[in-house]
């Protein structure tokens, strides 16, 4: 049984359809990528899994439990954390307080909370130096690291990452992906949405391609990396 099982999911904003008949699985300890262009429905799909958008059709199951209509804050308790598109850190609160909020679902004892925060600072040393600064004073890359660290504070079993490379310089993107790489084998499954298909396919085990709200292709990332259709559409390489 997969950790996350999405079947036949349809998502809409009022009359505007964002995704239709999406089915996908994420297994334990697996890193899965979703690639697709602007407006393909990637963010909407993650919102459906995190509970911010109520599906019009289909189901979402998490470790066997039907969570299709569960409130978002309860899903965090079950072990789903989303690092949202555009980072969305709490700008007026300090780096440390952003992390405290990330653990809101967990009710850690004080010492446990401190230990959890220190662990994140070890993972992201740049954040440690800035622990008392308001998050709005961080650079884009640092905010992305904070968003990921904040999501990890709830000790998720499934981490959802929405375009961690968005708006970052290539060198910072490399740093961020290196950190994602280090999360492998820590008992966390990751579902990562990216427009940078190359990086996403390199870091993941499997991948799905989403176009106009539908999954059009899926397979092992290593295979997709060499698939001519992917190379033409998402890796900027022409046929032949």
């Amino acid at each position: 049984m997969a950790l996350l099982e999405v079947s036949g999911l349809g998502l809409a904003y009022g009359p505007i359809r964002a995704a239709e008949d999406i089915s996908l699985q994420v297994g334990a300890d697996e890193i899965v990528a979703i690639i697709g262009g602007n407006g393909a429905g990637k963010t909407s799909l993650l919102k459906g899994i995190a509970g911010l958008l109520t599906p019009t059709t289909g189901t979402v199951r998490f470790s066997g439990e039907d969570i299709t209509r569960l409130a978002p804050h309860r899903r965090v308790g079950l072990g789903i954390a989303l690092s949202p598109e555009g980072r969305q850190v709490f700008p007026d609160q300090s780096v440390a307080d952003n992390l405290v909020l990330g653990a809101y679902a967990r009710n850690f004892a004080r010492g446990e909370l401190e230990a959890e925060i220190e662990e994140k600072f070890a993972l992201f040393p740049r954040l440690a130096e800035r622990r008392n600064q308001p998050a709005l004073t961080l650079s884009g890359g640092e905010q992305q690291m904070l968003a990921i660290a904040r999501a990890l504070m709830s000790r998720p079993r499934l981490l959802l990452l929405d375009e961690p490379s968005l708006g970052l310089a290539p060198i910072i993107v490399r740093d961020v992906f290196r950190i994602i790489e280090t999360l492998r084998g820590r008992g966390i499954s990751i579902l990562i949405v990216e427009q940078m298909a190359n990086l996403a396919l390199k870091v993941s085990n499997r991948a799905y391609v989403i176009e106009s709200g539908r999954i059009t292709l899926d397979g092992k990332s290593a295979d997709l990396l060499h698939d001519p259709r992917i190379r033409a559409a998402y890796l900027g390489v022409s046929h032949g």
């Binding site: 989303l82 949202p84 709490f90 609160q93 909020l101 809101y104 679902a105 709830s154």
Partner: protein
């Protein structure tokens, strides 16, 4: 000279009431992007709950013990009714297009006032302050002890609020909801419960303000509206989305009003609203405001 000190002190006292109510507007606005237009009725309602609490306790203890009790009872009862406002008049409409919550909260205020009239009748009630009616002298100026009490109570409550918001888990969660309910829910915060709590706190502040002001105003079921309007003006001047700005705006309004009253009391209201128009012409989001109002 004494007249100026006196005007300053009573301006600060009334300003303290404006500041508390202005803050109460800001609390629901920042967290839910809605306002409770029944806030004035909550001020009156709080005062009468306070009067009733004192009446029940008459003869059991001195007023300096029963008055704080009346403050707490008014705060708790108003807070509970505030939860009703959220559940019945705001939650069904929040996040939907349109401004139905404006009408539904006004309607709730009318119901609250009618219920109050049925319970207590239309006559004004007497709510004695704990330190009596005498005049105390500060720098030569005569002030009523209740005015000093209001000022001290307002400052304590405002600092307490600030401390909770900055340093507690609940305060941080509330600020997270104020920034973005969606992102807050991704932290595991139960957003509807936080919003309900914001309405409870906001209404409690209004209720407590009623008990504080009643001894120097006339405790009638109609008294709240005037205070709430001025407090709302204070909130607009300070910036509705900035709790601290709202507090400054409330105090500022009280002092300005008091000084203009010293000069010509019939100019008081005109001066106050000219001030608002002037401030908004220069700073459309209030002196300390940043975001626009159109986010609802």
């Amino acid at each position: 000279m004494e007249a100026y000190v006196q005007a300053l002190l009573s301006g600060l006292a009334v300003g303290g009431i404006y500041a508390l109510i202005a803050l109460s507007f800001s609390i629901t606005f920042t967290t839910t992007r809605t306002l409770n237009f029944a806030q004035g009725e909550f001020v009156s309602f709080g005062a009468f709950v306070g009067v009733t609490a004192l009446l029940v306790l008459t003869g059991t203890a001195s007023l300096s013990l029963t008055y704080p009790f009346a403050l707490v009872v008014a705060g708790v009862v108003a807070g509970v009714v505030g939860i009703l406002v959220f559940v019945l008049a705001v939650r069904p409409f929040a996040g939907k297009p349109g401004m139905s919550w404006v009408m539904s909260t006004i309607g709730f205020g009318i119901i609250l006032q009618s219920a109050g009239l049925a319970l207590w009748g239309p006559a004004p009630a007497k709510l004695p302050g704990p330190f009596g009616e005498g005049i105390i002298r500060i720098a030569g100026a005569g002030v009523r002890p209740q005015e000093v009490l209001i000022l001290v109570a307002a400052i304590v409550i405002l600092f307490g609020f600030e401390a909770v918001m900055q340093h507690t888990r609940l305060g941080k969660a509330t600020r997270a909801v104020a920034h973005s309910p969606d992102v807050a829910s991704l932290m595991g915060i139960n957003v509807p419960v936080v919003m309900m709590g914001a309405f409870a706190a906001s209404s409690a502040l209004a209720g407590v303000s009623g008990v504080l002001i009643a001894p120097i105003s006339t405790a009638s079921l109609y008294m709240g509206l005037g205070f709430a309007l001025k407090a709302f003006a204070g909130a607009i001047i300070g910036g509705l989305d900035n709790p601290r700005g709202c507090i400054y705006g409330g105090f500022m309004l009280g002092v300005v009003e008091s000084y203009v009253g010293l000069w010509h009391s019939q100019w008081r209201e005109i001066a106050v609203f000219l001030l608002i128009i002037l401030v908004l012409a220069i700073r459309p989001n209030g002196i300390f405001g940043a975001r626009t109002l159109q986010k609802v």
